[in-house]
Symmetry: C2
Subunit: 134 residues, 2 copies
């Protein structure tokens, strides 16, 4: 069912410093910061030949990554995102298998303008999993 690894998201306490680390120290191509107020984050995309790393920093009040950064002051890997062809079919299969979909179970429009869902970490080896329909 799952296809490509779309991205790995890393929550960071200092977006400028993390961007410099990936650009200057690791020598990767990085984007300009992109504010996504509807998702409560500012994101910098690190472009690798086969996938992306997304550096996430809280934006505004009630950002979904604030709690994570309180627990992980230096930052850390926040989630992985796998691509699916049909997000509703994927959701229904997962629910039939007993996996928990976060929120109300309806896909939202993700950071790339495509439908996404998040799955409960306890059902996926302690890992927050995003599914994105591509």
């Amino acid at each position: 069912m799952i296809g490509r690894l779309n991205h790995v998201a890393i929550a960071v306490p200092d977006l400028e410093a993390a961007t410099a680390t990936y650009r200057d120290t690791l020598g990767a191509a990085v984007s300009q910061p992109l504010e996504l107020p509807e998702h409560g984050v500012t994101v910098v995309f690190v472009e690798l030949p086969n996938t992306k790393i997304e550096l996430l920093h809280p934006l505004g009040d009630g950002s979904p990554i604030t709690g994570f950064l309180e627990k992980n002051a230096s930052g850390g890997i926040h989630h992985v995102c796998y691509e699916v062809d049909d997000i509703l079919a994927a959701r229904d299969r997962l629910k039939a298998d007993g996996a928990r979909v976060l929120g109300d179970g309806e896909p939202k429009t993700g950071a790339h303008g495509k439908p996404v869902l998040f799955l409960h970490p306890k059902d996926f080896a302690g890992t927050l999993v995003e599914l994105e329909q591509v």
Copy 2:
């Protein structure tokens, strides 16, 4: 400097259950478990079209992931691995930038039989980074 994302490693408390989750619930192709006593882990490879997920479980005494699983009882993302062309050149550039290389700074033979190094999470946005020469 860094190239492809070689893999994302997820430490799991129950390798059979995590393998079943990726195979049956997420519908991915998974390998048989492979014991790597010299690395203190048993690994299952999840093959995605563009990269791999590696499910790691402790093997033997003093496994390098035992402490991580004590802190993350449900499992969690342990590290990311980026490919480099020349690991000694990469190491020297990183050290010149002030980044800390773990251990004695000499590459070891990694789980894929290739030279690897690990970098200090505090220097890389809270993320344990493995470099693998390909």
